[in-house]
Symmetry: C3
Subunit: 270 residues, 3 copies
């Protein structure tokens, strides 16, 4: 028997202004009256599947086993792109098969994937071609959270669509990565993971070129440098990040998503 936490998380590019998120919740409460919702983010930039994948990747594993993660960033809604549900590490993911779950899996294979083709679990057999979130994904997610197996909700398929970032380029002298996310504070998060950074660094000193700044060392926390100074650190999601103490690195260093970040390693005495 599968565990269920009774929790459904939501990750979308719908924003909160128009009531689209509430329409999904209304449908789900009709099918699963005791479900609890947690909004992960509804401010994913419109149609930006990789941005949704990144935010979901950083958060899903903080939730208890048996949580259902409903994610809808779906530029292909109404086309032949598949609607899927996927089991991975005790959690269930429901959404379009367009790469949105790539970073949850990183290199792994999901335990089970189904294409959602059982219309009896949908809101109606003829869903709106522009709002599968409300008419397909939400009702299926709600029923999974009350015990429906994903096997019953669809037909098993072999794989999910994967998208991935350009990987950092690294050698013994340094690493070149890219900014993949700018957060609310203006912190610039790169695609360089803690493990790649630490295995390449091997306790050497660090020099980092990012935007218009040269950052001469690696910090542990935001307050390690004077207010207004730039820093490089490994963040709470295990990515290398460029930040400003009490300021916005994106603004003050003129860094945007996609900007290169170059890290050089050197022995302390050079």
């Amino acid at each position: 028997v599968l565990v269920t936490s009774g929790v459904i998380t939501l990750t979308t590019d719908f924003g909160m202004q128009d009531g689209y998120v509430a329409a999904m919740k209304g449908v789900m409460l009709g099918l699963a009256p005791d479900v609890r919702f947690v909004d992960i983010s509804h401010d994913i930039p419109p149609q930006d599947v990789m941005s949704g994948a990144f935010v979901l990747r950083n958060v899903w594993s903080t939730f208890p086993e048996g949580t259902v993660h409903l994610a809808v960033v779906d530029p292909g809604v109404g086309t032949t792109r598949r609607a899927i549900a996927m089991r991975y590490a005790g959690h269930t993911f429901v959404g379009p098969d367009n790469g949105l779950f790539s970073l949850v899996l990183s290199g792994d294979m999901p335990e089970q994937v189904v294409q959602l083709d059982q219309k009896r679990f949908w809101r109606n057999a003829d869903p709106s071609p522009t709002f599968h979130g409300r008419d397909v994904f939400a009702p299926v997610a709600a029923q999974i959270s009350t015990g429906l197996s994903i096997r019953s909700a669809g037909t098993v398929v072999e794989s999910v669509r994967k998208m991935h970032w350009a990987l950092p380029i690294s050698d013994d002298e340094g690493i070149q990565g890219w900014v993949v996310h700018v957060d609310r504070f203006g912190n610039c998060i790169t695609n360089i993971t803690r493990s790649e950074f630490e295995s390449r660094r091997r306790r050497r000193s660090v020099k980092c070129y990012a935007g218009n700044a040269i950052i001469p060392h690696c910090s542990r926390t935001y307050a390690d440098v004077p207010a207004g100074d730039a820093m490089l650190l490994v963040n709470s999601s295990d990515f290398v990040e460029i930040a400003i103490h009490n300021g916005s690195a994106a603004q003050m260093l003129d860094i945007r998503k996609g900007a290169p970040v170059n890290i050089l390693f050197a022995d302390e005495r050079t």
Copy 2:
């Protein structure tokens, strides 16, 4: 006995930055400890009653019967405008009597309307003249969600205030409507309903003038045209909408709320 879903939805122009919404929820949790909240929208433009009416109209019926919909867009707070509760189609609506529930009802009559004048159900007998949401509407909504009849909470009145949009103008050759809402994606939603559109169209071809674009046909879903192209479709709330595939119609076509949209019908061969 009336059904209650234990759910209260909230629709306001309060925003989420200042804690005003949380103040209402705090009051409600003190009176109805097991209530569940769903935020429909708190980003209704300040004092824009019709915008609140539109968002509520699109969402309320996705919720289960017995839901209480608390809506506060209330430029007349503290004046003699009435505070009301209303029963319609198994749902209860609580808020100011200023037209906010007009589009929920469309042409129908509510089953029951009361003016909220029973101060024993308020937060205190002397509510803040600037925040009836916290001191009048929230406590009444909470108590209705735990079983209070609206008849007990006030005095029956005959009608609610109605506001309505300018209606589209149509004849056999075409329809002229107006943009009544621009959503987070920049989709421009008109006041032309699916039924008016389809009954006038009668399977003829469509040509639409909207902003700086001429749209030569009607689409079914956003991905029916190449990325960046404009389209006309009937959306998931059954209104005619102008959109851009993977783009913002409002920005790219220079369309704002209130802009006219002209649709012409023609036999395929002309």
Copy 3:
């Protein structure tokens, strides 16, 4: 035995775009599966502790006794600033000891304060130096909401750090205060309390200089003046506020946070 309401409120400067708030909720749901969350605000300006203190001050007491208020505006995260839990008036407050709870207490002393040093209640013994919200504060708050005493979660300390605003300057002729908060409507809220205003005013007439306006009297509610006119009133949180009927005082009067507001009193006949 302490009462618990099962409710945890959240006040942060995290925004809702990046999933940081959801990470805290995920951790808490793993420890307290039945907890209910209410977001007070996540739009506190980054690192603005006093702004967080102000919003929390206006809202916390609307919640039922036994509520846990988790607040994280924490520019000193990862440094030696203390992490605390505090009991006051039947509520529990959890967050950094940086002044965030100053306005909740106003002049009072908390009933009990502990420094959170019992790592067995943390997410892990080695928390991320940049995200104590997820790894320290959230798990402790969740366990307090299910019955953990704050005494068990830490070591008693004598006091909390207090910050305070510049106080208004007043004499028999008038009061000079400052705008401490501009809300979503553009209402400009000052640091002048109802009690200071009323005790100085003694039923005399009022003249107020704020931004580019001279406001000749005191109003009771927003609709007391014609649309577009400026007014002064005592708001629902018992502070003097400058507002515009159906408009933004901040924009139309060119007032920002920190701007002075001068109020003069005069007998009716002068």
